[in-house]
């Protein structure tokens, strides 16, 4: 069966250091802009899906309250994933493959400022072996970073260089460790934020955008949850998703990688077999701005924006779970 042609036609994001707005207030201008930029309203959307985590605010079913932003009328076909919005986009892409709907709105929101995010993340771990130990997300990142350093895949100098480039500030290995061997510069810059993407199929996409970012391939794969039962120095699920999405040898001008820690960039670049000609994370990525649960969708948005603005091909990557447990790869192209 041939896949239906689907493109990202619009992207909007808002990222702030700390939002004093609630989720709906944060989302409203973002949804308005994503839809308005292509002349649509919610009534034109066939399928709506969001990604977020109720753990950030500590309120169950908070994502239902966020749908207030869509308005009570007309009734909508709606879904949600308790994951980064990038995985909501995957669901929208699958839904549009059914063929009966032509447009989808994907949005994500996250306000990690509501709590101690790195500690809260321990609640996503398995409830028997890892969660009772309460390891924070920075520590788990550091375990993977040391594994990468021990294997010779990167160096502390390289981590500082990557972090400096993404953050746009000077970095140095003379800075103290936050979690040895990670310094603060090699860890994500937590932000509050929201983002939205509009997908459209076939001629609908051509009508909405002068230069749609067509989805050539989209795939996501998962590895064992336990950090000790999988390789921390090779992202096998990224390799699998890259094959599924046609990313190997794709020759992308730009790759937007959801690397929350500096050591994940070389790991992911290797799994995607990125050539030196591919620009990695010109947006700065999660090292510069990490609106948790939104960051992956922003990678798709920035990769699409690169195509909208003239790039021939772009790759977007998003991740979920501890230490790159699950990975999504999307190839985008102009046609």
């Amino acid at each position: 069966m041939g896949e239906r042609e689907i493109a990202i036609v619009s992207f909007a994001e808002v990222i702030v250091e700390r939002s004093d707005r609630d989720d709906c207030e944060l989302l409203l201008p973002v949804l308005k802009r994503a839809l308005g930029d292509v002349g649509l309203t919610q009534q034109d959307i066939g399928f709506t899906v969001s990604g977020s985590s109720d753990f950030l605010g500590g309120r169950p079913f908070a994502f239902v309250m966020a749908t207030d932003v869509l308005g009570a009328w007309p009734p909508i076909r709606e879904s949600h994933v308790e994951m980064d919005g990038a995985f909501a986009l995957y669901e929208a892409w699958v839904r549009l493959q059914h063929g009966d709907l032509d447009t989808a709105l994907v949005f994500a929101f996250g306000r990690p400022s509501q709590g101690p995010l790195h500690d809260v993340m321990s609640l996503q771990l398995d409830p028997y072996y890892m969660a009772p130990l309460r390891p924070d997300a920075l520590s788990l990142g550091a375990l993977a970073a040391r594994a990468a350093l021990d294997a010779g895949l990167t160096s502390e100098d390289e981590l500082a260089r990557i972090a400096g480039e993404r953050r746009g500030v000077p970095t140095s290995t003379s800075e103290p460790y936050l979690r040895e061997p990670l310094r603060a510069h090699a860890t994500p810059t937590l932000r509050d934020g929201a983002a939205a993407i509009v997908l459209a199929a076939g001629d609908g996409a051509r009508a909405l955008s002068k230069r749609p970012a067509w989805i050539r391939g989209l795939d996501h794969r998962i590895e064992p949850h336990s950090l000790g039962a999988r390789s921390l120095t090779r992202s096998v699920s990224t390799e699998q998703a890259a094959r599924g999405a046609g990313a190997l040898g794709f020759g992308a001008d730009v790759a937007e990688l959801h690397a929350r820690f500096a050591h994940e960039e070389p790991l992911l670049s290797r799994a995607l077999e990125l050539p030196a000609s591919t620009r990695v994370n010109p947006s700065g990525g999660a090292l510069a701005q990490d609106p948790v649960m939104v960051t992956g969708l922003c990678r798709l948005g920035h990769a699409a924006r690169a195509v909208h603005e003239g790039a021939a091909r772009a790759i977007a990557h998003a991740t979920s779970g501890p230490c790159l447990q699950q990975n999504l790869v999307c190839t985008l192209e102009a046609r």
Binding site: Y128, P132, L133, R134, P135, D136, S226, G228
Partner: protein, 147 residues
């Protein structure tokens, strides 16, 4: 922020979980001060065990004893432990591959200071005196020369 009113807000779901035939045996062995792993059809020993082989998805139903000492495969240092973590004093998180195991498990290493930590070092499990059948029955690993 002193003008912000604060009130306690307790959110709790009182789940009772069945740990099942594999995790249950592992936790029962821990309560008895022993460590066991799950042996897969291909002969690998998974510690801590899951009901399935993480590589193939095949069921794992044979549990075998493994050593209570092993090798640190990676580690990091926690200078300021958070409430609820295994130790209240500074410690290392590590992945430890126990003798006889093919996978590593996450736990704390009570090493005193980061200069005593090294990838490849040997550590030995220290069990709590009072055990209840949870992963915290294993209090921490200790550097082997010190135990």
């Amino acid at each position: 922020m002193s003008d912000v009113m604060r009130a306690p807000y307790v959110l709790e779901y009182g789940y009772r979980r069945s740990t099942g035939p594999v995790i249950g045996q592992f936790l029962t062995a821990l309560r008895d001060g022993r460590l066991v792993g799950g042996k897969t059809a291909r002969g690998r020993v998974i510690v801590p065990p899951t009901e399935y082989d993480p590589e193939t998805g095949d069921a794992v139903d044979e549990l075998v004893p493994v050593g209570d000492a092993g090798v640190v495969t990676t580690w990091t240092w926690v200078a300021e432990p958070a409430p609820g973590q295994p130790l209240a004093r500074p410690f290392a998180w590590a992945l430890v591959k126990l003798d006889g195991a093919d996978t590593a498990m996450l736990h704390a290493v009570d090493a005193g200071e980061p200069s005593r930590m090294k990838t490849g070092m040997r550590v030995r499990a220290r069990f709590r005196a009072e055990r209840s059948g949870t992963i915290l029955d294993l209090e921490a690993f200790l550097p082997e020369q010190a135990s």
